[in-house]
Amino acid sequence: MPLVDLKVWRGDDNGEYISYLVEYDEGEVILDVVHRLQSTDAQDLAVRWNCKAGKCGSCSAEVNGKPSLMCMQRMVNFTPGEEIIISPMKTFPLIKDLVTDVSWNYENARKVPAFSPKKVDTDGKHRMQQVDIERGQEFHQCIECYLCQDVCHVIRDQRIKIILLALGFLYK
């Protein structure tokens, strides 16, 4: 297997980038390589992940400075020999390695009142046309990866704690 030069942030705010040479396969994604690193040279490397298919929004990080889901970054898209730098999302307070404290999203979600439905028809059912619900469905697709906040320069650079609600909640 070929090797990739991975530079990963280790530790908290006082941490540092550490370089590792890790085996990889062309058909893998960055998250696979991070997992291989974990199972060999860095057992305690903190990283969040769940679905590995871009659906849960857990493995958000910055790959070569670009906010990304690590499970969606294919190795085939990098030049062989290229150094890949993986950093935690910079918008959020760092916990350890690639894991950040995204709790303010959950605090804000609690401030959103419950959805209140319209009255049902006489047979107890709601009737809505597909075309009318599609706009709403779009917002419901938010996977809460918080990468939008990671790219937002207002939040990121100026660290202004605005009450930003996840789009899906705002829509409700």
Binding site: D25, E26, G27, E28, V29, L31, D32, Q38, S39, T40, Q43, D44, L45, A46, V47, R48, W49, N50, C51, K52, A53, G54, K55, C56, G57, S58, C71, M72, R74, I95, K96, D97, V99, V102, Y106, A109, R110, V112, P113, A114, F115, P117, G124, K125, H126, R127, M128, Q129, Q130, I133, G136, Q137, H140, Q141, C142, I143, E144, G168, F169, K172
Partner: protein
């Protein structure tokens, strides 16, 4: 031993797991006035429910008026090869429509029929189009809806917090609490609870090729058994017929059955729709015998019998396995799933947006132009904690279970779409059951300090050990051997080999050594999950050895037929004095009015 600081909490009802079942349970328990908290291993909203794609089965009759709970009940029982707990299957079929409408009341936006009602889609083993859905991301919609409901009610959530032991008052065989740790700092946390609801989901992470996320380590199964609860049907594991097989990064990731529900077909390397060769006798009378008949069924179910592509999952998984073994597989060891030649690109992108995206981004395959390559992937545990059908209570007082971790509803094989409805039907019942129990329990039971000390010592052992094996290596060994020796096709010889492998790995686990400290340390977390995975692997294998027949999610090469004798037996698995025992138990027979449904059809 070292004194560890322990954070303490008290709740009437503690729910472990924040997926579809846990959330529904917590909402219900709170509604009955019980103080309620949820503990979950991941961030709130990342539970495996978000990965559910195709839909939620409920006989609402929006697409086919003929549909009703009796048809759904019959489909579920037949899909489960009649080994289901009939009462659970009945409750599930009867209550599922109300739970769908309830989610809609809470804000879920399901796809619509032309009349504006909830649209229902075809799925394997369901006689009528029955799955309420949102494109191919139904689980996400369900979880977000429940998540928002729970947040608006102010239910306390301990996220990224892992429970490691349940505490039981041995004299009364009653639950008293639980001990766990915060993932962030590794600090210990203790809960006193009158009732506990286990909603921890599946155990698929013990296999190498799986659709389960890192969380699917079966913690709830193993902790409940260690606490004295009876388990049932642990030998039955569903291998979903269509997981991705290539590239390696996505091996095992799910491809929704909705692809076939919406017109896709399975083909082998000779371009043949091979499922027509694998129609079992049980389903022959209601399955199409020609391609033309199958295709006209898609247009209107009164024009023909259903396509064999939509046979129950166990049948399809075995068929794919046989095709690949016979050398008629695809280049990467699967078969082809083709919707590109059968439906328009617009239709595919509209109905299956996340499949389109998943293949495009991760495999470089455009599913509107070319076929997908798919093969079986470990997906679901039919077995689990044995529960009372009405209340979801286990054999330990005050310990309840709902969702995948509970056994019984699905028998030997689960039908697609029955899982999401299971979560909310039995999540709600568990919530009510636990609330009733808690209200009738006057005071919190004391937690035995000796048990706490023992659990802490066990949790800290991987730091105290030295020169032992790396937890990742042990995990990989387990996954590879389970895949090889206790996978889709099993034999006594291999199962016995697997049992000694488990013994061997258990020894290695005792000296497992982790690096670093307790601060967000995945190596340590995995080291602790190993105990659960190995316990479940042992339960599974021991039950699989005893079931000397082939049925549903348990295929024995040495006993290829279903046997009448085993068709009336459920295996109960429990821990007695520290060792796992399996005993046969006669299944409950259903009342005549339900048995009637299976005659002459």
């Amino acid at each position: 031993m070292t004194d560890y600081e322990i954070e303490e909490h008290e709740y009437d009802v503690l729910v472990i797991g924040a997926g579809g079942a846990g959330l529904r349970a917590a909402i219900e328990s709170l509604a009955f006035g019980c103080s309620t908290a949820i503990v979950c291993k991941s961030l709130f909203g990342k539970a495996h429910t978000v990965m559910a794609e195709g839909g939620m089965a409920a006989a609402m009759g929006n697409v086919y008026e003929e549909d009703n709970w009796k048809v759904h009940f019959r489909d579920t029982m037949r899909g489960g090869k009649m080994l289901n707990n009939w009462r659970m299957a009945q409750i599930h079929a009867q209550e599922a429509p109300d739970r769908v409408l309830e989610l809609e009341e809470w804000g879920a936006l399901f796809d619509r029929t032309e009349d504006g009602l909830i649209l229902q889609r075809d799925f394997g083993g369901h006689k009528y189009a029955r799955l309420a859905h949102v494109g191919d991301s139904t689980g996400l919609e369900m979880l977000r809806t429940e998540q928002q409901k729970a947040a608006s009610l102010g239910i306390k959530v301990f996220s990224e917090c892992t429970i490691n032991r349940l505490m039981v008052d041995k004299k009364t065989n009653s639950i008293s609490g639980a001990l766990g740790y915060w993932r962030e700092k590794g600090n210990l946390i203790k809960f006193k609870a009158k009732a506990i609801i286990i909603a921890t989901g599946g155990l698929g992470k013990m296999y190498a090729i799986t659709s389960n996320s890192w969380e699917g380590t079966g913690d709830g199964h193993a902790m409940a058994m260690m606490a004295g609860a009876e388990m049932v049907d642990m030998e039955f594991v569903q291998f979903h017929p269509t997981g991705m097989v290539w590239p390696p990064s996505v091996k095992g990731i799910l491809v929704t059955e909705g692809v076939r529900g919406d017109g896709g077909t399975l083909r082998n390397s000779t371009d043949k729709r091979f499922m027509f060769n694998y129609i079992p006798e049980m389903f022959a009378s209601e399955t199409a015998s020609t391609e033309d008949e199958a295709d006209s069924w898609y247009e209107d179910h009164s024009l023909g019998r259903r396509t064999p592509d939509l046979l129950p999952r166990d049948e399809v998984a075995r068929a794919i396995n046989s095709e690949v073994k016979a050398g008629r597989g695809s280049p990467h060891g699967g078969v082809f799933l083709d919707i590109a030649s059968r439906r328009s690109p617009e239709y595919i992108q509209k109905r299956l947006p996340s499949m389109y995206h998943q293949f495009k981004q991760l495999a470089g395959v455009d599913i509107t132009k070319e076929p997908m390559e798919v093969g079986p992937t470990c997906h679901y545990a039919m077995g689990g904690i044995k529960v009372n059908a009405e209340t979801a209570q286990s054999s330990v007082n005050g310990l309840f279970a709902a969702g995948e971790v509970a056994g019984g509803l699905h028998g030997a094989n689960r039908l697609g779409g029955n899982s999401l409805s299971d979560l909310v039907v039995f999540g709600r019942r568990a919530g009510k059951g636990a609330a009733d129990y808690a209200k009738n329990t006057e005071s919190f039971l004391p937690i035995d300090q000796i048990e706490i000390d023992k659990a802490i010592q066990n949790m800290m052992m991987p730091f105290d050990n030295s020169n032992g094996e790396n937890p990742y290596t042990i995990h990989k060994e387990l996954q590879d051997s389970m895949q090889k020796l206790a996978g889709i096709i099993r034999t006594e010889e291999e199962l016995v080999q697997m049992l000694s492998k488990v013994e061997d790995l258990k020894k290695k686990m005792l000296s497992v050594t982790v690096e670093g400290n307790r601060w967000f340390n995945p190596g340590w977390h995995l080291a602790l999950d190993l105990e659960f995975m190995l316990t479940n692997a042992e339960s599974l294998v021991r039950a699989a050895i005893e079931r000397k027949e082939s049925r549903g999610g348990h295929t024995r090469d040495d006993y290829p037929e279903a046997s009448k004798k085993f068709g009336e037996i459920n295996f109960i698995i429990k821990q007695v004095n520290g060792s796992i025992k399996v005993e046969p138990r006669q299944s409950d027979s259903m009342p005549d009015e339900l048995a009637e449904l299976f005659k002459d059809k």
